[in-house]
Amino acid sequence: MIVTRGLTKRYGHLLVVDQVDLDVREGDRYGFLGPNGSGKTTVVRMLLGLVYATSGEITVLGQPVPKRAAQVLPSIGALVEGPSAYGHLSGRANLALIDAAGKSGSRRTRGSRIAATLDQVGLGGIDNRPVKRYSLGMRQRLGLAAALLRTPKLLILDEPTNGLDPQGIREIRDLLIELNAAGTTVFLSSHQLSEVEQLCTRVGIVNRGRLVRQDDLETLRALTGRSIVHTPDTDRAREVLDGQIERAESGRLVVADADTAALNSRLVAYGVRVTEIAAERRSLEDVVLSVTGSGSDRVDVLDEERG
């Protein structure tokens, strides 16, 4: 669905995006992760033909962008850097304007399509108040509605759950999973690990403009070869598992043994009560922190500057 080769963007001397090779497949729920200022939004803008690449190629839905952007974009729903709308108009009027812009959808079905989309994002009962009186979460939903208006094949969403409360986040996640199940590919750019971890099937991690890791979430969250054991009988467990324990905190042991079942029966055989036992997985957070440094909104003094 989205393939980039050596995608690079330079603003003067500043290298914002550096040789990014994205590969988003049909049916993916792709999470594009990275700290703030790592070049995520610039990549998204390049995918949509808003920003022109310095070098490299972009293919979206099999067509080169920005050359064939006019053919590709109608099948894409996008939410870039927050929603925006004409504040003095109502949500419906905004959707009608955006629908009429460009190669417009049929005017006859416009009203019903807008109503259906508003329903989808949970704004079905919205009144005619102007958008400037919407809450942040309502604006976010309206932006999502605009992206969904033409039942896109590909959704490109930049931080889609900004400003939503936990319930709203859950709702949007369910909506995206539902759309994905119906055949929509979802490309979601975010700096929120939990959001990506709960929604996505594939993950690309970007840091300082470079794509440092791109893989299935399952692969990234591989087993570590250790097991986590919770037990009230810590001392007894120590005796049984002599030398295998890597870390021990009150009631929680990290054991260097991947075979959870065997470990469990051994502990129980020696009379150690086990309240909880599981194979340890790497969390996405570990993966991300291992390949990225601090975010680039943090500006440290370089050593040579200190002099």
């Binding site: 009027a93 955006i98 460009g102």
Partner: protein, 281 residues
Amino acid sequence: MIRVELAKLVRRPRSWVSLILLCGLPVLVAVFVAVTHLAPPPGQGPALLSAVLSSGSLYPAAALAIVLPIFLPVAVAVVAGDSIAGEAGSGTLRYLLARPVGRTRLLAAKLIALIVYTLSAVILIAVTAYLTGIALFGAQPVAATPGGLTTSNIAATSLSGSGLTPAEIALRTVGAVAFIAVSMLGVGAIALFLSTVTDSALGAALGALAALITSEVLVTLNAASAVDPYLPTRYWLAWIDFFRDPIVWRNIERGFAVQGVYVVVFLAASWAHFATKDITS
């Protein structure tokens, strides 16, 4: 897309407020003049105003002269400056372009909306002023002279000048309206270009006004006479020549030509810049 842009223009309260203000100022002036009968002496104050007391049918021209120096260019510059920069500032530009709306198409639609706004502003001013003029000053026949109605003493020369029929006045007013609309499009083109450069609608509008003020200053400066014929405001008042008898075409033609060049150059620059620009707003 053109329909969308026109809908945005119409549904924007600001468009209506600016039109009401533009039409309201001449009405206010007319009421003061009608009540006091104290028109400025010929040659002073807004052009043609001194002649208005003799016939209300000239008031459209006087009204245009009242709003031309500041009010009208400000309104046009604000609308034109807002066209791209306003969308960028509110964040809607990226959604329009990702819709997709072609950049050239968007610019063309914005330009057409600007032309519609400018034309309706000028025509509306002329129409309300005509109604005001007829109501307050009556519709006596008017005399025009080679010296025009503005610079010479109307009271002294009106008898020697040839009479203008209402149809002739209407026709000449239409000519003046067209000339002023084209002059305003010159302003609009400059503001539209700046609007593609900056993401601040205010900056674009003020930039265009700064260009006009610079031009006005240079026009009055003898030392700048070398560039004088090319300044955008140089022939702004040439439409008054429509009310001389016979019509003096020289400056009118030059005025049209200069504005035409400004419109073409700045529209081309807007297009060239906007079509290749990175949209980071």
